[in-house]
């Protein structure tokens, strides 16, 4: 089998994880990643023997003892596809500067506007539509979390309307520049951008979202109120979520009562970097009020989209089978493994 040759442009929170995930896929080969400025991430990449391609002349990096394999243009010539994980708007610039003229396929992240790509993507929702696309946009961590669970609810009960609030982490764990450290910051526009963004993946779901940021770095939490077409039940909702991929039902009985304990469980399970790529729904926070289904879910902003990028690579390269791709990705990244093996997470 000829392996898919992948390059990663941008080597931050998402890029470094995508690079590691690509290396774990049997059908993929990581050609290299781009290095922008000297820092500990680049040092760790060098220790992992990942080839580094400079976004400029690379002199700054060489001064610090970093070995440079070439320029970003050299990288482009060697790959079948790029995963662009640069900050928002840079992805679009890179598309025009590099990927279109170089005739290279690319995966973009949710920070870019939807029109950067032919399709906005969540694997379990719309993989078949993305097959053979040149440009795919993996939606943001929050949108991915909403799309995964709402898709399952929509299939089971039918959705008349969703009202959801995103309680967002203030900054990522490594980030010492951003806040808040002691305030709650509402997003002062309605709806927040998340609702319209969900509709790029689930166009027939009516959804209205609000958002605010709080003083935590670990995970986002969503509270959802879903007006269903059929009357929902707590039992059926738990079953639907348990059987779905990339969703994990955890419970108070096992003392997983907070985002802190979810992250600690991920560490105890020896997850790479302590990541929890599954969307976590708290069993005891699933409720029904008439036709309204209520639930709360936690989203690990650093990792939930990594598996989506891997599936997006396969889709863009023409691999036709969504279920098979998701299974391959999940196996390599140990997603759903513990729940799937023993169903211990929820009796």
């Amino acid at each position: 089998m000829k392996k898919i040759k992948v390059g990663v442009v941008g080597y931050g929170t998402i890029g470094k994880r995508v690079a590691d995930a690509v290396m774990l896929q049997e059908d993929m080969e990581l050609v290299g990643v781009t290095a922008h400025s000297y820092n500990y991430r680049i040092l760790a990449a060098q220790e992992k023997k990942i080839a580094l391609y400079a976004t400029d002349d690379g002199e700054h990096l060489k001064e610090h003892g970093i070995t440079i394999a070439g320029s970003i243009r050299d990288l482009l010539k060697k790959v079948d596809i790029i995963v662009d994980t640069t900050p928002k708007k840079i992805g679009k610039e890179n598309k025009e500067k590099y990927y279109l003229p170089g005739k290279v396929k690319a995966i973009f992240q949710g920070g870019e506007k939807a029109d950067v790509a032919e399709i906005s993507f969540t694997a379990q929702v719309n993989y078949p539509k993305a097959v053979n696309s040149d440009y795919i946009r993996v939606v943001s961590c929050n949108t991915t979390g909403l799309a995964r669970t709402l898709y399952e609810v929509h299939k089971k009960f039918g959705i008349a309307e969703v009202n959801a609030t995103m309680i967002r982490r203030g900054a990522d764990p490594w980030d010492i520049r951003h806040g808040p450290i002691n305030a709650i910051v509402p997003v002062l526009e309605l709806p927040s951008h998340h609702g319209p963004d969900v509709q790029t993946v689930l166009p027939d779901v009516r959804i209205f979202t609000t958002a605010l940021s709080v003083s935590t770095t670990l995970m986002h939490v969503h509270t959802l109120i879903v007006d269903c077409v059929k009357t929902p039940s707590v039992h059926d909702t738990i079953e639907v979520f348990r059987k779905a991929t990339r969703i994990r039902v955890l419970d108070n009985a096992s003392k997983v009562r907070s985002t802190a304990e979810i992250m600690e469980l991920a560490r105890d399970l020896e997850r790479s970097r302590g990541d929890m790529p599954e969307i976590v729904v708290w069993k005891e926070a699933i409720g029904v009020n008439g036709n309204k289904l209520l639930y709360m879910q936690a989203v690990h902003q650093e990792s939930d989209v990594i598996c989506e990028n891997i599936d997006a690579i396969r889709a863009a390269m023409g691999f036709p089978d969504a279920k098979k791709s998701i299974e391959m990705t999940n196996k390599a990244l140990e997603i759903d493994k513990w729940a799937g093996d023993s169903e211990w997470v929820c009796e």
Copy 2:
């Protein structure tokens, strides 16, 4: 080679790490750990095939589908040595209730008073004195951090007196009950207990300590002012720390400017649970003022004592060679690996 049979009593932050570390040693065998109440840690232990011994009748655990291998008394009969990682004062109770009557050797943690054991222990300082002890006390995370670097400074320059302040994390990352979340809390006793505790390991070092707690979960930070006998230099201090085991010099140039970035580096290095067992000294925060040596160091409270427990097991069991034990432990736990291989952490 006959393996040392180890049991772990208490399965929290330290116990679960000690259990994993024991399983990684070629000369040790983990017989099992004790389980107290049902929670996600016990579930993760069961998934790892670790034998669980109940501290009571175990009915509560069995109700949740946990398999119990026996009682704590059954565990005691099967082991050569116990590592007791229970909360403070419980270790002493366990000694009187179980270990003394059962004639079982035991390692205690720094939460116990020094008189629980024959010796208070930091491997690189006083391993030889601990050989063949029945009871050894591994000092606390903060005391371990102070003992490691001060021992090196004492050997190089001689210490006349130390004044140090511990800026302590408010709670561990998984802990949702304790604080502060928005205050700085001084320890209102002088000296704080850390100074006298350092003297249980370094009896001839004069040290006066103060402490306060802040709103973070990641690591402790110490600021130290060391009055030296010989005039110290920044260059020699960096060299001493770089060459010492279990101390890591990191720098601003590689953007490791905070405890947050140290923890992120540990994740990028694929450390188990994202741990950083080495004491981290910031290169740019090492200074000299006359005969005073100033430095700042970060202590990962969850992990720095784990390697000490492993060495304490070997010492108690009569393994005579301190250097060899430290090397075996470091290799199994990948301590010093990255710095030692390439010295990339400090040019």
